[in-house]
């Protein structure tokens, strides 16, 4: 396998499951025999505060243990962050921006000025419908799996069932799997 590394920066607000999502993705990568890091960027974290997390996935061992400053992908779990955080800072021009938003990718593009690929997914509506709560991390994971193709849908669903199944009721786990699949299928591209 060629040396392929993908670096992701997550933007969310405390309570949206951003750190959990970054780690779920890393664990799913392990299922595929890849190397990974799931790294939270701890600040004074509290419900609602802007937070960041990073995931690195690679076919070869990962050397650096530092923040991702030039991500291939920026994932935004809360569209209100677009006004207060520069989510495209350092984002590679040939990379991609994925935003939880009911609006179109074009609208996000004009709001952020990002020239690379832009995707939107209405993860909040999916989460409220499937889970009854606005925790958009799992549908965002589905969307991310679709647009990057770096970790398979099957590995991630397996990971969801294993990880969430350890502590959650069966119906909640399956609701999350449904939310994941809707995220996977419902992504809008430019």
């Amino acid at each position: 396998m060629a040396d392929q590394t993908i670096e992701i920066r997550w933007h969310g607000r405390g309570g949206q499951g951003t750190v959990t999502a970054s780690k779920l993705l890393a664990e799913a990568a392990m299922e595929e025999g890849k190397y990974f890091q799931g790294m939270p960027d701890y600040g004074a974290e509290r419900m609602g505060a802007p937070i960041r997390a990073y995931t690195r996935i690679s076919s070869t061992p990962i050397k650096p243990y530092c923040q991702v400053t030039e991500p291939d992908v920026a994932v935004v779990l809360d569209a209100t962050l677009l006004d207060i955080v520069d989510v495209t800072e350092g984002l590679k021009q040939e990379g991609m921006l994925l935003v939880n938003s009911a609006t179109s990718p074009d609208q996000v593009r004009s709001q952020t000025g990002y020239k690379g690929k832009v995707y939107t997914i209405d993860a909040t509506s999916i989460a409220i419908e499937a889970l009854g709560r606005n925790i958009p991390n799992v549908p965002m994971l589905g969307s991310l799996a679709k647009v990057t193709g770096m970790v398979s849908k099957e590995s991630l669903i397996h990971e969801l069932r294993t990880r969430l199944g350890a502590t959650m009721k069966q119906e909640i786990v399956e609701a999350n799997v449904l939310a994941f699949e809707r995220g996977y299928d419902g992504t809008k591209a430019t």
Binding site: G38, I62, P64
Partner: protein, 401 residues
């Protein structure tokens, strides 16, 4: 030719703190006395779950402070038990008095230190000020660069501490959050392999060996105190050999060899960065990038800071044109920070007059990325070109005021 067969492990995804707890489970020590403190909490929390679930038969003592944690470990160790604990930052500082007792009483306790800065200003993130502050307490100190090393060091620490030529406590450091709370890939050995590697603890002297009564912690007057300290020196000196031997034996078992220092692209390097701990990976990336630009850049990672390995360090650095020592601690008032001073002393005592500069970096969790280490290499090229090392005391990644 027959290929070497290593023990096959299992790949798991774990945060560094949980890696430490898993090793403690695999070792199944007699006693763990610990107090939770951010960012070490998950070590104690996870291990106490193993205790509650009956996965270990360790006597777990939930103490009221770190001072008490170390006191309980010392008591247990003196009684003949294998005792482990974990702490960080302020917790290590509160243990300080007892750290000296542990080493002075020759208690081979192993302790994970999830490196955290010391207040004030209040900060819970990583630097190495905590362990550097404990460098003279008579504890052996090794540091991890990544998740695998956290795992491997935690196992080897027990063997090093209990070796009959050493009998000294060991602290093994891992960067708080950066390793402690980051999810990483670890190859875990089968439980029985770990148990066999560490073996069972057979103390030469113990309080519970009532056939051979001994006294621990008695008053030591001017007549023998000095000689007892001299014996501690001997244990520390022997540790240099033992750490390398244990690392080699572990390598034969797992394919992962450990020594006192680890060079990277260093042999033909003209400019070198010396570093300890989790930022070494970013230096590797920087060295790769500089090499791609035709710069002969290299790195020396120091794994073992106590005892300091002067011959290994000087030998690796002897022909370098300029050297940058990275210090992730704030130890005020000397001409340089602890790692710099040790490196300079090692070189000077062997008649090597290299150009060496000291960079303080990463305090209070300040992140350092490969691009910043590339700048250090460029600074070193400047030192080579001009022949001027001044200013020797420098900062990396510090805001200009």
């Amino acid at each position: 030719m027959q290929e070497t067969q290593y023990v096959k492990g299992k790949f798991v995804a774990l945060e560094g703190d949980r890696v430490v707890a898993e090793v403690m489970r695999q070792i199944n020590p007699d006693v763990v006395a610990a107090y939770p403190i951010t960012p070490q909490t998950e070590v104690v929390q996870t291990f106490s779950e193993f205790v509650a679930d009956g996965r270990v038969d360790t006597e777990f003592i939930a103490v009221e402070s770190e001072h008490a944690a170390m006191s309980a470990c010392i008591g247990a160790s003196a009684a003949g038990a294998r005792a482990l604990t974990a702490t960080c930052g302020a917790g290590l500082a509160l243990m300080w008095e007892m750290l000296w007792c542990a080493s002075g009483l020759r208690c081979p306790i192993a302790m994970a230190v999830v490196n955290r800065s010391l207040s004030a200003p209040l900060n819970i993130l990583t630097d190495q000020t905590d362990m550097m502050g404990a460098r003279d307490t008579g504890w052996i100190q090794i540091y991890a660069e990544n998740h695998q090393e956290v795992y491997d060091n935690a196992i080897q620490a027990v063997r090093i501490a209990e070796h009959p030529d050493v009998v000294l406590p060991v602290m093994h450091g891992l960067a708080g959050f950066v390793l402690g709370h980051t999810l990483g890939r670890v190859e875990m050995l089968p439980d029985e392999v770990v148990k066999e590697f560490v073996g069972s603890y057979k103390p030469r002297y113990s309080l519970l060996d009532i056939e051979h009564p001994t006294t621990f912690g008695a008053y030591d007057h001017w007549d023998y105190f000095f000689e007892h300290k001299r014996q501690q020196w001997e244990g520390m000196n022997c540790a240099l050999k033992v750490i390398a031997e244990v690392g080699e034996e572990y390598g034969k078992l797992t394919g992962r060899h450990y020594g006192l220092v680890e060079p990277y692209m260093l042999e033909d390097a003209e400019v070198a960065i010396v570093i300890i701990g989790s930022a070494a990976g970013a230096v590797r990336v920087a060295a790769d990038q500089m090499r791609a630009q035709g710069v002969k850049a290299g790195m020396l990672k120091i794994r073992c800071f106590r005892p300091f390995p002067p011959s290994a360090v000087a030998g690796a650095l002897k022909d370098k044109k300029a050297i940058a020592v990275m210090d992730r601690s704030s130890c005020f008032g000397a001409e340089g920070n602890p790692v710099f001073i040790e490196v300079c002393s090692s070189l000077f005592q062997r008649g090597i007059r290299a150009k060496v500069v000291d960079y303080t970096y990463g305090l209070g969790g300040r992140d350092t990325v490969p691009g910043e280490f590339c700048q250090v290499y460029r600074d070193l090229l400047q030192v080579v070109q001009t022949g001027v090392a001044e200013p020797v005391f420098r900062y990396l990644g510090l805001r200009d005021f």
